[in-house]
């Protein structure tokens, strides 16, 4: 009884208030506030660390497996084992030819389709306790070392912005792109 008497009156008040508000405020329908701030190309370059297979965005600098061995032993070996055999962290070496077997071994050498991903990932995320700490030369060198351990490049092959995207990984054609299916 109480509610049936009062709800219609309350409703009328609400509608009247809403009508008044609509007159007072004209909302800019569908128009976002456009608060993005312009940013310079130099500033973007400091943030842009992703490297696609084309190698676009790879920095200056270079390195070889011979130099990379030193970086690896200092910064990587504790987790990835001597010569990339793994444990406690991921195995980096071997497994080529194993992918169709009952015991596939998926490593940088046997599974990763692009060498650019190796540079990209080491630079953005490794060493795990201290990422963004390696110089570009160190990243090129340690990438060269991991590729060398997998028998993909020579011990003195220079890895740089031109050569790294040219490296043909053994499993380059091993993926079925499902993105447009």
């Amino acid at each position: 009884m109480y509610t049936s008497k009062w709800i219609p009156i309350a409703g009328i008040v609400v509608i009247a208030a809403a009508a008044l508000a609509a007159c007072a405020v004209q909302p800019p329908a569908g128009k976002p506030p456009a608060l993005g701030a312009a940013v310079s190309a130099e500033e973007v370059a400091r943030w842009d660390i992703s490297i696609p297979p084309s190698g676009a965005g790879l920095p200056k600098g270079s390195g070889t497996a011979r130099l990379g061995l030193q970086v690896y032993e200092q910064k990587c070996l504790a987790c990835h084992g001597a010569k990339g055999v793994g444990k406690p962290a991921d195995v980096l070496v071997g497994g080529v030819g194993s992918l169709a077997s009952k015991t596939p071994l998926r490593t940088v050498g046997s599974y990763w389709p692009y060498a650019t991903t190796l540079f990209d990932y080491v630079r953005r995320a490794m060493p795990i306790a201290n990422p963004l700490s390696l110089s570009d030369d160190e990243v090129y060198a340690v990438s060269a070392y991991v590729l060398f351990l997998n028998g993909i490049v020579g011990e003195d092959s220079q890895m740089n912005a031109q050569t790294l995207p040219q490296v043909k990984m053994p499993n380059r054609d091993g993926f079925v792109d499902m993105s447009r299916r």
């Binding site: 976002p32 406690p88 169709a100 940088v108």
Partner: protein, 451 residues
């Protein structure tokens, strides 16, 4: 483990002792940190002192102490004044064993790498409490100052722009309820032998929250995508700088730049202060701690979309960019490590979801898949959201195998486990949406089994 907890409600609770769970939080310490209002209240002391004075006064007026009052029903907590207010609420101390199940493949070497799975066996309804939401972290949870954090949109755009968190907060917001499932969910259901741990420790890399934020489309319109922009690279500000490539179509469809979860600002472990949300797709594509989106002409082929989150096939090839999460369901009650105390009527309850959209139907079997019955659904009107299903069940005391199978709006149905396994290489751990089976023994014990 708190014995009272187990005695109180052993029938539908899992035995957490078998699970590699986190240590329950210390409620006492937590409360004393939370707010000055949790300090021992002087007000309460005053109140009690007044009570004592009243009793004394009554005695002095010659009224006999009432034997009647002492014999009235009332538990001890009904006879003392309750606790003071707290600034931030916590579950009952009796619920302290309800915590996430930790999966830490690198152990103490990288304690924040791996996953924390939702204890789905202890939860009901559709929404996952923020504190129990599943987590997949690659290099721990960063401690981000929102005043220093920026989101950069650049690449194949007309105007590269940065957005502060304060500016994002001023955009028109959208609120939606979506599940997030890690594509590595249910990997423990692929171990050679069925492992006897709670359902959440096996299938709990799934959660569902209400998310509020700015549609990504709105920010992309502000930067202006160039015609050759076909993909976006999304990158987090964690120390892994976890990154994934996303087709532009998804970004313009239902992608959200989320700022809020279940009404409050995102938890740090859910991407505070800002995360991407790609409804229905592999959980790690909803990049947390979002710092950069780059428009590109093709996928970047990051580490987490080549060496991981690809689905190996028996012939040595692998499926790449399998974004959508398949139709799936799990019975949460009864489930592994629980015990049914006696025969009689129970309610079978569980969760279902599909990355393709809405759940159309969930069927339940109690005879290992020989016959199926339709379960009642709650929340099935929502797309890419958890659905709760329920079915009454008279347990006769005989051995039984309970299963559920969901069908989504596209007519896709969960596959049997053997069928699913046969599609992939023996080491595939992604996109396991096969039917889950729990065996109820004649003794009432519930076990994880492979059917």
């Amino acid at each position: 483990m708190d014995n009272r907890f187990h005695n109180r409600n052993a029938s539908w609770r899992s035995d957490l002792k078998e699970s590699p769970v986190a240590k329950p939080r210390d409620m006492k310490n937590h409360n004393s940190d939370a707010s000055p209002t949790t300090q021992p209240s002087q007000g309460r002391r005053v109140f009690l002192a007044q009570g004592a004075a009243l009793v004394t006064g009554a005695a002095s007026t010659g009224i006999a102490a009432s034997a009647n009052g002492q014999s009235l029903a009332g538990q001890p907590w009904e006879r003392v004044y309750g606790a003071a207010f707290t600034g931030y609420g916590q579950p009952s101390r009796f619920e302290l064993p309800v915590v996430r199940h930790l999966l830490r493949p690198y152990g103490d070497l990288a304690p924040g790498s791996g996953a924390a799975l939702t204890p789905i066996e202890s939860l009901e309804g559709i929404i996952t409490p923020s504190s129990l939401h599943n987590i997949r972290n690659h290099s721990g949870t960063p401690d981000i100052d929102p005043k220093q954090h920026q989101l950069l949109l650049h690449g194949l755009v007309a105007r590269p722009l940065t957005f502060s968190m304060e500016s994002l907060w001023r955009y028109p917001m959208t609120t939606r309820t979506y599940f997030i499932e890690c594509s590595g969910n249910s990997l423990r259901a692929l171990l050679p032998k069925p492992v006897q741990i709670p359902a959440g420790a096996i299938h709990g890399n799934i959660s569902c929250s209400e998310w509020t934020g700015v549609p990504l489309r709105m920010l992309l319109e502000e930067t202006g995508l160039l015609p050759q922009a076909k993909w976006l690279l999304a990158e987090g500000a964690d120390s892994a700088h976890m990154s994934r490539s996303i087709p532009v179509e998804k970004a313009l469809d239902d992608a959200l730049v989320a700022l809020y979860q279940n009404g409050e600002r995102l938890r740090p472990e859910q991407g505070y202060p800002v995360r991407l949300l790609l409804p229905g797709w592999e959980g790690n594509m909803s990049v947390k701690w979002l710092r950069r989106i780059k428009a590109t002409d093709g996928p970047t082929h990051t580490k987490d979309e080549t060496s991981k989150y690809t689905d190996p096939l028996p012939d040595g090839r692998a499926l790449q960019f399998t974004f959508e999460m398949g139709v799936k369901s799990v019975i949460t009650r009864p489930s592994s490590t629980m015990t049914l105390p006696r025969s009689g009527l129970y309610e079978i309850s569980g969760i279902a979801w599909s990355g393709a959209g809405r759940i159309r139907r969930v069927e339940v079997s109690t005879d290992g898949g020989a016959t199926w019955a339709d379960a009642a659904l709650t929340g099935e009107e929502r797309s890419k959201c958890l659905v709760r299903f329920r079915l009454p069940w008279e347990w006769t005391g005989q051995a039984a195998v309970v299963q559920s199978r969901a069908t989504d709006q596209k007519g896709q149905m969960q596959p049997p486990r053997k069928e699913w396994i046969a599609q992939y290489a023996p080491d595939n751990r992604f996109h396991n949406n096969s039917i889950v089976s729990w065996a109820v023994g004649a003794d009432g014990s519930v076990k994880n089994v492979y059917v």
